[in-house]
Each structure stands twice: as structure tokens, then as C-alpha cells.
């Protein structure tokens, strides 16, 4: 099976519970289990090839320019982790089916679990470090969902948040580290990076890269000082803890250290950082675990300790260390998953996980007792279980390690940690199962059904078998993965009995002392409780609280919800950023000579500046501001004519007309005056920001206009091909309806949506509270005596056919002369609006046969249909065709498919403009605006009409 498919199967499986959960949790569990099993089989099919030393790869190009490819590889290390992830995942799926209660949403659980499984498989199968990072982040996210699965528990939510914060930040650091690594190696491909040991270790960036990558690995694998999130994550349901903390999530950090071991290890930096951190974490976790009463807390800190042990072994940088590390990864996964499941069973059946309430379960739950005891003894490293063998190997490595000139220190600390792990393991057994039977358990404990017992039972069988026959059971996997890690042929010598040697003696002593510590646990606990010690959670919470407060202060300072504050800050930031870019960058010399200023242009300029200045000074008089807006718009239109942009001028001037009409209609209701409400200081600050923007924007425009294009423009293509391909002389119009037709299509759609938004808002204004307000509206200005003067009515009705003809003319000539659908649509809309203004809303509405919504829809459909028509000729969307025709009595004219597209634009523009203004008229009518005819198709206003 392709490695890509193996990684994809869990993700596919994540979709199934959502579809199948209505058929019951059995179906959901079986579907997930099937997908996992398929992936596991697919992975195992590669075992023979991997044992031969091959590396199976497959690669898909994703973003080659940044070196990100979807590459997969299966080597010994991937195989080891893949088998653990999928195999234990399968057992967890079974276990969770029986563990979760009726009230828990099981479908969600399986979806999260499969997502997580897929992300883990992605990490171990990636052959590209950037690709690996994608999955790395995915594990952080999906584990967040899993840890916080019981959303109703505050501890669950806090634990999930803490895990996400810590591992997420580590992930960010790791991204930086991986980028450095990839840059040194010249490739992000793991295969290539692994070949670049000399270059990487010689690079001055080796230490930064190492630190950043280790930050990611240590946070994920809960190494000191980032160990605190793991115990908090125990708020998750036990199947999650069993999966995340035995075989997967926390092992991802170990995986990464193992994966990059060939290029990063072997230096003093590596040894002192990794081995020391691992050793200290191992000791710290073991000590804390002894003094916890919650079963899962004991297991959590023991996990921290055991992870520290593997980290330490990898940190040694020796082949023997790697062999012991990968072997212990297998062993830890088996016994720790079994222990978590045991703790879950006890919790499930006895109703508590606290040792203060437990004890004596040996007689009540004999099978659970056997499973739990064997697994815990393996954790303690007791002969002849698998934990014993790897612990002996660890001790052997540790006592032969000299740390900073101290030949014994390393071994002594490792031995102390081993003693503590014996102690907490024995305490786990004695506190839960041994002792007298009690009568105050929250539930009545008894052994659960096979569904819960099967998974831990199978794992315990493995614990025993690997212990008795290590070479047969695990030798091949250890060999393959150790070979993959070290890149050399290793020959692990896994055996239960190595004769009487130093590690064996240490183990024996640890067992005795550990047992004594359990016996004298009470006084020890009192001493421990008396010792002052920092509580990681409190510190973490304080740091987070301070960070939130600081961020809030900054945020409130920049943006307190007032529009002016936000807009002002944004404007100032843009100007400052632009100024910075201008100062640090370099613009070429001014190459274009200035155009001469004609007298007309000078007059227009003065008018514009005066109008703009008046706008600022007199904007409080809102009607005057509208007049000024009209002047400014008119001069801008003239500027477009002058600067060789006739299409723009036509569009601008017609848009100007409808905009002013729209604002006038709105001003009918809004106050006519803006009162002075701001002090001089505020206005001065605003003026300062405005001046900065004006100077910067104008300066930028000037700088651009005085220089030639830095690169060849694509405009020449448009000029050269406007007639040849688009069949039109008006390059702007051809660009709109042909070259960039797709943009235009999007734009008319947006325009249509805007009009529909306006319609919808009007609808809500015409019902409920605001409708009553409107019905009782008192206008603050006197109404005109004669609202529909006869002259105006007659004139507009006479003009209508003429103006419609003009619209048609503008539309038809658009392809070759200034004009086109946009302008024609605006002209037609204006001529219709004149009827509304002159003859009144009701009169015009009565004669309006086509609803405006339909025109918008028709416009978009016509444009789309024209575009799709091209498909029938086997050419892409919106490819146009054209021809010239001659009708009697008329000039030769052109018909192009682009014209049909332009018709769509036309319809959409007419519909949108009319719908917007029509909506305003409807509001006006609701206030009791009378018309010159009795209303026919509108509900009469609720209040008596005003006389006119």
C-alpha cells in the first residue's frame, strides 16, 4: 500500500463516524476500526522490504517553490511508530466503545481520535520537514479537541488550553528551527537533510536550530520545564490519556529527536542539553509521581519520568543508547497503555481514581488486578517483564556515562530515579488492589466485560512475551528502527539475563529501597507536603493572565470600538509603514518629464481644491456638503476626460448623479446639520492624521507619475489584441467584457448582492418598531407646496424615450467607442429615476412591470450563460466570438458574444441602482409621503395623509 494512502486512511476514517453515528456507536467504532486495521495491514505489508534495509518513499509535488512536497517515507523508525500508533489505536477504539457513557457524543470522539491518529501517522511517515510540521500542528489541534472532549468540565477545558498553548508554542519554535535546518542542508527533504551532518554541525546556526527544534520536541514530550501540561491533560477521558500519553502525542517529540538524531546528535551541545534535561525530567517525574493520590496523576508523572528516560538515552548519542531508547519506546507503550486502561476500568467500576478511597480491589476485581499488577511491575522494571530489560540497558548506559568530569553522577541520579519508579509502581498496586476490602467505594466494583478487558489484557500478554522472548518478539523491530535512527547496521542484544552485573545489583537495590519507601510512605508524604515547591499550573495561569491583560491594554489602546479610533490608527499605521518602506527602499530617478498645465486644467484644479477645502469647513451643513460633493465629482469626471479616460468620465458622471440622489433621499430623514461635538484638540489630532495621509498619498502618486514602469506592463498585450481577439476598438470595454470578463462577472455579482442587501434592510425597517416610528415621522423641514410640478412631469415623460435611445446608443457603441454596459445601465437608471422624481413613486411603480430583483438575477444569468456558451465550442469560459453585419439603412455594426455579456452587465446595473433607490422611496412612502395618485399596489399608510 502506498505510504500516502496509509497516512490518508485515518483521515478518511474521521469522516465516517459523522455519517454513521446514527446507526449506533457499534457501527461508528467498527468503521473507524476497519480503517485503522486497513492502514495497519498496509503498513505491515512493507515489513519485509524495510527489514531488507529499503526505504519506501512516494512523493507528490505540492508547493515546489518553497520546498514543500507531500513526500512520504517508510523506514524502520516510521515502521516502529506506525505500528504503535495504529496498533494501540485499534485497541483504544475498542476500549473507548465500552468506556464512554451513554451521554457522551461518541461520534465526535471517534472523529477527533481518527483525526489525531491521521496527524500522528503523517508525522511519522513524512519525508519532508515542512510537510511534517503541518502534521505536527495538526496533532496539537486534534489533541486539543480530544483533551477538551468533556467540554462541561472546566478542568478539561483548561487542560486542553494549556496543552495547546505549550505544544503550539513549541511547534512555532520548531518551524523556525526546521527552516534553519533546511536552509543549511539546502533541502527540506528528510532524506537529504540526514546526509548533511557535517554541513549542519559546522554551521554557526547549528546551536540556534538545535535549540528551536528541541523546544518543539521538549514541549511535545513534556520535558522539564514544559512537563506541567501533561498532568493537566489528564482531565481527558481515559481512552484519550491512554492513547496520547502512551504511544502517540508525547512520543512525537521522541520521534523527532530520533528522526534527526543522525544530524543533530554527537556534539557536546546535544549531549548536555538533551541528556541532562532527560535525566532531570526522569528524576523529577518519578519523585512527584510517588506523592500523588490520583491514579491518573501517578501515571501522568510516571509518563513524564519515562519520557525523560528515553530522552536521556537519545541524548547520550551512542548506538547503545539508541537501541535502549527504541526498545523502551515499545515497552513503555505496551505497559503504560495497559496501565491507563486499568486506571480507567477502576474509575469506571469503583467510581473513583483516588487512592484515598481505593484499596482491596484484589478480591473484587481479580482480572483487573492481574492485568494492572503485571503492567505496573513491568513499569517498575521487575524480572522477567519487558520493562526490566530496557531498564537494565538504561542503567548500563547511564553508569558508563561521565557528566562534566564526574564519572559517577549520571549513574547515581539514574539509579535514584529508578528507585523512585519502583516505589510509585508498587504504590500503584498496593494502593489500588492490596489491603483490606472496603465498604465505602462510590460504586460496587467488579470486573468489567470483555470489551474493556480485552485491550489491556492483550497488551499485558505482550509485556510478558517481550520480556521472556525479547529477540523473537521485538528484536526485528528494534533492529530495523535502530538502524534507521543511527544510519548504521546495529546488532541489538536483547536478553533477559546478562549474568550478575552492576545494573542487576542496582535493580535489586532499587527494588528493596522502593518497597521500603512504599512501606514508609506516610512519613515521606508528610515531609513532601511540608516542602515548599512551585506549582506549575499557578505560574502558568499567572503568566497567561498577565499576557492577556497586556494584550488587552494594547488592543484597547489601538481600537476601543470607536470607528474613529480604529480608522485613525489604521491610517496612521499605513502612513508610517509606507514612509518606512519609502525611506528604506530605493526609487529610481525621475524619468518622466512633467506635462504642461493648460489654463482649463488649472481652472479645474482650483475649483477642485476650493470645493475640497469648503467641504472640510462647511461639512456641517449637510445639504451644502452634497452640493460640494457634486462639484468635486464633476471635476473628477472632467479630469478623466482630460486625461484620456472617456469611459471613466461617462461612468463617473452618471454614478455621481445617482449617488447624490441617493444621499438626498437619505437626508430627507437624517438631520440636516452636524453639530460641533468635538473639542479643538480632537479636531487638531484628526487634522494631523488627515494631513499625513494627504501628504503621503499625494507624494506617492507624484513619485509614481514621474517615473516609468519598472517592468514591462501587460497593457501592450491588451492594446495589440483588442481588435484581433476581442473585435473591438474600445480597449477598456474589451478588457472589461473579454480579457478580464471574469473579474467583471464577479463585480456585477457583488453589485447585485449589495442591492439585495439594501432591499433586505429596507424590509426589516418596514416592520415592527421602526415601521411604527416611520408611520409617525415628523419631518423637520417644510414640504414643497407643489410636489409634482406639471412642467417637470411633462418634460421627463417627453425625455424618457429619448434618454432610453441614448442609453441604447451608448450600449451599442460601447465595443468600439466610449460607452458600454455600465454607462448605459446608469443612463437608463437615471432616466427611470427621473420619472420617479417627477411623477411620484406610486405612478412610476404602477408602470414598472419587471421587478428589479429579477433584472439583477437576469443580468447575472445572461452574463454567465454567455460565458458558458463558449464551452459548446470547446473553448474556455467567456471566450468571445464576433462578426460584422450590415442592415439596410443603417451603418455596418458589430455583433459579438461579448455584447451579450455586456447586456448582462447592463441589466445588473439597472436592477441594482433602481432597487437601491426604490428601497429608499419605499421608506419615504411609509412616512406618509403622498403621491399625485391614490396608491394602488402599496398598503396605504396608517396615519392620515398630510395635505399638500
Amino acid at each position: 500500500m502506498s505510504p500516502a494512502l496509509i497516512a490518508a486512511l485515518p483521515f478518511l476514517g474521521a469522516l465516517l463516524p459523522g455519517l454513521l453515528i446514527r446507526s449506533g456507536r457499534n457501527v461508528a467504532a467498527i468503521s473507524c476500526g476497519t480503517m485503522t486495521l486497513l492502514a495497519l495491514i498496509g503498513l505491515c505489508l512493507h515489513i519485509p522490504a524495510v527489514m531488507d534495509g529499503q526505504v519506501i518513499t512516494s512523493s507528490f509535488t505540492w508547493l515546489p517553490r518553497i520546498g514543500l512536497d507531500a513526500s512520504f517515507r517508510i523506514d524502520g523508525l516510521s515502521l516502529l511508530f506506525g505500528i504503535l500508533i495504529l496498533g494501540i489505536g485499534l485497541l483504544i477504539i475498542l476500549y473507548a466503545r465500552y468506556y464512554l457513557s451513554k451521554g457522551d457524543p461518541v461520534g465526535q470522539f471517534y472523529t477527533y481520535l481518527m483525526l489525531f491518529q491521521g496527524a500522528m501517522m503523517g508525522i511519522v511517515l513524512s519525508d519532508n520537514v515542512l510537510f511534517l510540521l503541518v502534521f505536527w500542528e495538526l496533532t496539537s489541534l486534534s489533541s486539543f479537541l480530544l483533551i477538551g472532549y468533556w467540554k462541561h468540565l472546566p478542568e478539561g477545558r483548561q487542560g486542553a488550553r494549556m496543552a495547546l498553548t505549550v505544544t503550539g508554542m513549541g511547534g512555532l519554535a520548531m518551524i523556525a528551527g526546521m527552516m534553519i535546518l533546511g536552509n543549511i542542508a539546502g533541502s527540506y527533504n528528510i532524506g537529504d537533510i540526514l546526509q548533511a551532518k557535517e554541513a549542519i554541525q559546522a554551521s554557526p546556526l547549528y546551536v540556534p536550530a538545535l535549540l528551536l527544534i528541541l523546544l518543539g520536541a521538549f514541549t511535545k514530550s513534556a520535558q522539564f520545564p514544559f512537563h506541567f501540561w501533561l498532568p493537566q491533560a489528564m482531565a481527558a477521558p481515559t481512552p484519550v490519556s491512554a492513547y496520547l500519553h502512551s504511544a502517540t502525542m508525547v512520543k512525537a517529540g521522541l520521534f523527532l529527536m530520533a528522526r534527526l538524531w543522525p544530524v543533530l546528535s554527537g556534539t557536546p551541545e546535544w549531549f548536555y542539553i538533551v541528556a541532562t534535561t532527560g535525566l532531570f525530567t526522569m528524576l523529577l517525574g518519578a519523585v512527584i509521581a510517588l506523592f500523588k493520590d490520583d491514579l491518573k496523576a501517578i501515571l501522568a508523572f510516571s509518563t513524564v519520568s519515562q519520557l525523560g528516560m528515553v530522552t536521556m538515552l537519545l541524548g547520550l548519542g551512542t548506538e547503545a543508547g539508541v537501541i535502549a531508547a527504541v526498545f523502551h519506546i515499545i515497552n513503555h507503550a505496551t505497559f503504560k497503555a495497559a496501565l491507563f486502561m486499568t486506571a480507567g476500568i477502576v474509575d469506571h467500576e469503583a467510581g473513583t481514581r483516588s487512592m484515598k478511597l481505593l484499596g482491596g480491589l484484589r478480591k473484587l476485581m481479580p482480572i483487573t488486578f492481574i492485568i494492572g499488577t503485571i503492567a505496573a511491575l513491568s513499569m517498575a522494571g521487575v524480572f522477567p517483564l519487558n520493562g526490566f530489560i530496557s531498564k537494565e540497558m538504561m542503567l548500563d548506559d547511564a553508569i558508563h556515562t561521565s557528566w562534566a568530569g564526574h564519572p559517577q553522577l549520571f549513574g547515581i541520579i539514574a539509579a535514584i530515579a529508578a528507585t523512585f519508579s519502583v516505589a510509585y509502581s508498587l504504590r500503584f498496586i498496593s494502593g489500588t488492589f492490596l489491603g483490606p476490602v472496603r465498604d465505602d467505594y462510590p460504586h460496587h466494583p467488579h470486573d468489567p466485560g470483555l470489551g474493556l478487558l480485552f485491550s489491556p489484557g492483550l497488551l499485558v500478554v505482550l509485556v510478558v512475551l517481550i520480556g521472556l522472548m525479547p529477540m523473537t518478539m521485538a528484536g526485528w523491530l528494534v533492529t530495523a528502527s535502530a538502524n534507521a535512527v543511527t544510519g548504521a547496521a546495529t546488532e541489538p542484544d536483547l536478553a533477559l539475563w546478562h549474568g550478575v552485573n552492576a545494573p542487576l545489583l542496582i535493580s535489586g537495590a532499587a527494588l528493596v529501597i522502593g518497597a521500603l519507601m512504599v512501606a514508609f510512605h506516610r512519613p515521606l508524604q508528610r515531609i513532601w507536603d511540608a516542602l515548599p515547591r512551585p506549582e506549575a499550573k499557578t505560574i502558568f495561569d499567572a503568566v497567561i493572565r498577565r499576557a492577556v491583560r497586556w494584550a488587552q491594554a494594547v488592543n484597547d489602546g489601538l481600537h476601543d470600538g470607536r470607528l474613529a479610533r480604529g480608522a485613525g490608527m489604521m491610517a496612521a499605521t499605513i502612513v508610517l509603514a509606507g514612509t518606512f518602506a519609502w525611506i528604506t527602499g530605493r526609487a529610481g530617478p525621475e524619468t518622466r518629464a512633467m506635462l504642461p498645465i493648460s489654463p482649463v486644467a488649472a481652472i479645474g484644479f482650483v475649483l477642485l481644491i476650493v470645493a475640497t477645502a469648503c467641504m472640510v469647513v462647511f461639512h456641517r451643513n449637510r445639504l451644502l456638503a452634497l452640493v460640494l460633493i457634486g462639484i468635486v465629482g464633476l471635476i473628477v469626471s472632467c479630469a478623466f476626460v482630460y486625461l484620456s479616460a472617456p469611459d471613466l468620465a461617462l461612468t463617473q458622471i452618471s454614478v455621481e448623479v445617482v449617488t447624490v440622489m441617493l444621499m438626498l433621499l437619505a437626508l430627507n430623514f437624517l438631520p440636516k446639520v452636524t453639530w460641533v461635538e468635538t473639542g479643538g484638540l480632537r479636531r487638531g489630532a484628526d487634522a494631523l492624521i488627515a494631513t499625513m495621509v494627504g501628504l503621503a498619498f499625494g507624494g506617492l502618486a507624484y513619485a509614481i507619475m514621474r517615473r516609468d514602469f519598472a517592468f514591462d506592463t501587460i497593457s501592450q498585450y491588451h492594446i495589440a489584441n483588442s481588435y484581433k481577439q476581442g473585435g473591438g476598438d474600445n480597449i477598456v470595454n474589451v478588457t472589461l467584457v473579454d480579457f478580464r470578463g471574469y473579474d467583471t462577472f464577479g463585480e456585477i455579482t457583488v453589485l447585485g448582492i449589495a442591492a439585495l442587501v439594501i432591499y433586505a434592510m429596507t424590509e426589516t425597517l418596514l416592520i415592527g418598531k421602526s415601521a411604527r416610528k416611520l408611520a409617525n415621522w415628523r419631518h423637520d423641514q417644510k414640504r414643497a407646496g407643489d410636489r409634482h410640478p406639471l412642467m417637470l412631469v411633462v418634460a421627463t415623460r417627453l425625455i424618457l424615450p429619448i434618454s432610453l435611445t441614448v442609453g441604447l446608443f451608448i450600449f451599442m457603441r460601447g465595443h468600439n467607442q466610449p460607452g458600454g454596459g455600465f454607462v448605459a445601465g446608469l443612463i437608463v437608471a437615471i432616466s427611470l429615476l427621473m420619472q420617479y422624481m417627477a411623477s411620484g413613486f406610486a405612478w412610476a411603480q404602477e408602470r414598472q412591470r419587471v421587478p428589479f430583483h429579477a433584472m439583477i438575477g437576469a443580468g447575472v444569468i445572461v452574463a454567465a450563460a454567455t460565458g458558458m456558451g463558449a464551452w459548446f465550442f470547446g473553448v474556455p469560459f467567456l471566450t468571445s466570438a464576433y462578426g460584422y453585419f450590415k442592415l439596410p439603412f443603417l451603418e455596418e455594426f458589430e455583433l459579438a458574444t461579448a455584447m451579450a455579456f455586456d447586456l448582462g452587465v447592463f441589466l445588473c446595473v439597472v436592477g441594482a441602482v433602481m432597487l437601491a433607490l426604490n428601497s429608499l422611496s419605499r421608506i419615504a412612502r411609509r412616512t406618509g409621503e403622498s403621491t399625485n395618485r391614490p396608491a394602488t399596489n402599496q398598503a396605504p399608510p396608517a396615519v392620515p395623509k398630510e395635505a399638500h
Binding site: 479630469a639 488627515a690 499625494g698 492594446i719 442587501v757
Partner: protein, 121 residues
């Protein structure tokens, strides 16, 4: 000529920003309209200024590129003008609706509505 256009762009954008920073809806709408003018003119200006060179083909032979101004910014600006009308219309209706519903035409919510109460924790 370039200097005049640049000054016009600067003046219009400055007055636009000043009006956008006011407290009531109507000046803000007017300010946004002024900003649209400035930005549309700026977009056309990025094609560099040319007089009497409209982008309408004069003959169908080999094109003389120097005879026409840059058509591409014009095409983009044309749709920008129409879209800014749509935006203005929506904003006008919003401010009208807010005035009718809320009783005043302040652009910001009252202080009491704006402050969220307490922390998320």
C-alpha cells in the same frame, strides 16, 4: 500637470480621512465618497498621465503603443467606480436604518453597549 493631480489626490484623501474621523454617520459617508474619488484618480494615475491619447484604437494595423494611454488601470477603475457606488448605497441605507431604529446618527455605539462586561474567564 503631474503635480496638480498629485496635489488633488492628496487634498481629496486628506479631507476624506478627516470626515471619516467624525462622529456622525453622514460626514463619514461623505468622507468615504471623497476617499473613493481620490483612490480612483490615483488608480488612473498609476497608468501615468497622457493627454489626447484615449485607449480607442485608431487603425487595425500594427499598434503604435505610444499613441494610447494605459487602458488597464482604466478598466479596473471603471468597475471600482460602480462598486464604490454599491458600497455607498449600502452604507447610506445602514446609517438611515440606524437612525430610524436607534434614534440618533452617532457612528459609534453608546459606551454602555460597547464595553463587554467582565473577562472571558
Amino acid at each position: 500637470m503631474e503635480a496638480l493631480v498629485a496635489i488633488a489626490i492628496g487634498a481629496m484623501s486628506a479631507s476624506g480621512i478627516y470626515l471619516v474621523l467624525r462622529l456622525r454617520t453622514f460626514p463619514v459617508v461623505i468622507g468615504m465618497t471623497m476617499m473613493s474619488y481620490a483612490i480612483n484618480l490615483f488608480l488612473v494615475a498609476t497608468g501615468r498621465l497622457a493627454i489626447n491619447k484615449p485607449p480607442i484604437l485608431q487603425n487595425h494595423g500594427a499598434p503604435d503603443f505610444s499613441a494610447y494611454t494605459d487602458p488597464l488601470p482604466q478598466a479596473l477603475t471603471l468597475t471600482a467606480i460602480v462598486i464604490s457606488f454599491g458600497m455607498t448605497a449600502v452604507v447610506v441605507l445602514l446609517s438611515l436604518g440606524a437612525y430610524i431604529e436607534g434614534g440618533d446618527d452617532y457612528i459609534d455605539m453608546p459606551e454602555s453597549d460597547r464595553r463587554e462586561d467582565g473577562n472571558a474567564e
